[in-house]
């Protein structure tokens, strides 16, 4: 009898405590829900666009093989970007809209297969083209900015000739 009385007192005490904390718990739950939904919204946004300032939580998920220095000049109308990464990594390519901070998707999600290789051809509509390569594998993601400038054919030929001459001179 005494034992039952003790339990009831403890239960009432807990109930009072929960009542006092009710507002705090609800606030925390709402905050958690908002956090989750923001995260989901941000990934949903990455489906079609990504801010030029976006950053990933990794720097070594994929490795861009072309352009090796993440910037290049070409006289072509297109450019082939290549990369290597672990199997299962999904890659999307975005291009910056000139005069804005937004990059719109131009190459839909493509998963790296067993070869670990990835390549895609992108159009170069502007003199200066900024691309964002967004790679994602589970909770790891990486954002790589690539700059491709269009130059005249004659300039590329001159640069190539100078490079070869320097390399031959150094041998």
């Amino acid at each position: 009898m005494q034992e039952n009385f003790g339990t009831s007192v403890w239960f009432l005490h807990l109930k009072g405590l929960l009542y006092k904390m009710k507002k705090k718990i609800i606030s925390m739950l709402i905050a958690a829900l908002m956090l989750f939904s923001m995260h989901a919204v941000s990934f949903a946004a990455y489906e079609t666009q990504i801010p030029v300032t976006a950053q990933g939580n990794s720097t070594d998920l994929i490795y861009i093989k072309r352009p090796q220095t993440l910037s290049a000049s070409t006289s072509d109308r297109t450019y082939t970007i290549s990369a290597v990464g672990p199997q299962g990594t999904t890659i999307r390519i975005y291009r910056q809209v000139p005069g804005t901070e937004d990059c719109m998707i131009i190459k839909a999600a493509q998963q790296i297969g067993a070869s670990g290789l990835y390549s895609t051809v992108v159009d170069l509509p502007n003199d200066s083209n900024t691309f964002i390569v967004y790679a994602e594998n589970g909770t790891t993601n990486q954002v790589v900015d690539i700059e491709i400038s269009k130059v005249k054919k004659s300039t590329v030929e001159r640069l190539k000739s100078v490079t070869i001459n320097i390399l031959n001179f150094l041998r």
Partner: protein, 447 residues
């Protein structure tokens, strides 16, 4: 009078009937006893058109590098453009290989790659040659070049010829100007819907980085889109209406100079026809496999005293043309065994359909062994490839690579892709073949 006319009319009809009947007897072997239609062999055996012999130094594909990586153009053997470009390139190569040794300069790999990214044409061969064998097949009497093994050549717009001799690079100046005109003319082509062709080295897939598992040989062409080509029907010419086509068999016997009346013949349990003569044994199986084994010297290739590799391979190619003509086809074939040795005895050839190689699982279309200027062993997978009136496409190159590597990745730490190109893969089952990828991993052939 009327009676005479009626007689003449009946006579004309009878003569016409006799002519029709004679044609049927001569052409349709079913009206003759087996092995007795030697007369029709003589009338139907076509003159060989040297499809194989004339293409021993022809590349399998030509890529025109316009200086723009987004506008490279590929030409396969069957296109008329290929023939024109190859004709020009062939003259330039004859000039280059005739140059004295002092005009052949060793250069760096950067020069080679620079030529490929500039204005040039790239010739990709289905096998490797030594300078001696290549120049011998080109009809150049004496070349001072010492290249041991090359299968890639680049000719720059200014006439410079680059040779990749198994990783060592050479340049020969020819001052030929014709390449420039070819490049300018193709630049006028509409390239809107063309696949972008990169070489593996363009994309740095030939260089290892970190945990990169797959390394592609630098000259593998990588197409941005799937490759389109005719769907072809693979036919076994030995069979007709589920029976061995006796006329074809007799024509093959004729190509091997075997007299159907004098040889001894029998049929094995699996239906393989065996023809035995004093000179050798010829077998023709119902699945279209022909094998010849010499009993004495074999089939003489050349009357020369000491034929070298280029002599032998020329004569063999001529013989293959004769065999192909015997089954009424002008089959395109490429030499696929290396011609890098002066004393090569074994040669292989493979079919080429519409400029696209045909590959069999662990086998070649033709295998020949020679000894002292005689063919002592010969085997051929007899096939006709008939293009259908619609096209098929390969998978994307990256998908093909992923599928193949998935099979091997558990047993190999690093996978080196040596060759990768569009091909028809023939499993000998007959029927339609769509273009696919032929992939060679180190020493493993994966299809």
């Amino acid at each position: 009078m009327m009676k005479e006319r009626l007689k003449s009319f009946i006579l004309v009809i009878l003569v016409a009937f006799s002519l029709v009947l004679a044609e049927k007897i001569l052409v349709d072997e079913k009206l003759w006893p087996t092995g007795y239609n030697f007369f029709s062999i003589g009338t139907n055996l076509r003159k060989a058109d040297r499809s194989v012999a004339d293409n021993l130094t022809a590349p399998e594909r030509i890529i025109i590098n316009t200086g723009y990586q987004s506008s490279r153009f590929e030409y396969l053997r069957t296109s008329s453009d290929f023939k024109e470009i190859y004709s020009v390139a062939s003259d330039i190569l004859k000039t280059a290989f005739s140059k004295p040794a002092r005009d052949i300069l060793q250069v760096s790999s950067e020069n080679w790659y620079s030529a490929l990214t500039g204005k040039s044409i790239y010739l990709s061969y289905p096998t490797a040659y030594s300078a001696k064998n290549f120049s011998g097949l080109m009809g150049i009497n004496r070349s001072e070049a010492t290249f041991k093994s090359f299968s890639d050549i680049v000719i720059e717009e200014n006439g410079n010829v680059y040779i990749n001799d198994d990783g060592t690079f050479y340049r020969i100046e020819t001052l030929a100007q014709e390449i420039s005109a070819i490049i300018e003319s193709v630049l006028e082509t509409d390239i809107e819907n063309q696949s972008v062709i990169n070489y593996s080295f363009d994309l740095n897939f030939d260089k290892e980085f970190g945990s990169q598992k797959t390394i592609l040989a630098p000259m593998i062409p990588i197409y941005s889109d799937a490759v389109l080509a005719d769907v072809v029907n693979s036919e076994n010419p030995v069979m007709r209406d589920d029976e061995i086509n006796q006329r074809t068999v007799n024509q093959i016997l004729s190509a091997f100079s075997i007299n159907p009346n004098s040889m001894w013949r029998y049929t094995e349990a699996d239906g393989t026809l065996v023809f035995v003569e004093n000179t050798g044994i010829l077998k023709i199986s119902p699945n279209g496999i022909l094998t010849y084994t010499a009993s004495d010297n074999g089939i003489q290739l050349s009357s020369g005293s000491s034929p070298d590799t280029s002599d032998n391979v020329s004569q063999i190619a001529g013989f293959i043309d004769t065999v192909n003509a015997s089954i009424n086809q002008n089959a395109e074939m490429s030499i696929t065994s290396p011609l890098t040795d002066d004393n090569t005895r074994n040669f292989t050839f493979d079919y080429n359909m519409g400029g696209i190689p045909v590959k069999f699982s662990n086998n070649n279309a033709v295998k020949v062994t020679v000894s002292n200027g005689y063919i002592i062993e010969y085997s051929q997978i007899l096939r006709r490839y008939i293009p259908r009136d619609y096209s098929g496409s390969t998978p994307l190159y990256i998908e093909a690579l992923d599928n193949i590597i998935a099979k091997y990745q558990s047993s190999m730490n690093q996978i080196n892709i040596k060759k990768m190109f569009p091909a028809y893969i023939d499993d000998l089952a007959g029927g339609e073949k769509s273009p696919d990828w032929y992939i060679e991993i180190d020493n493993v052939v994966a299809q």
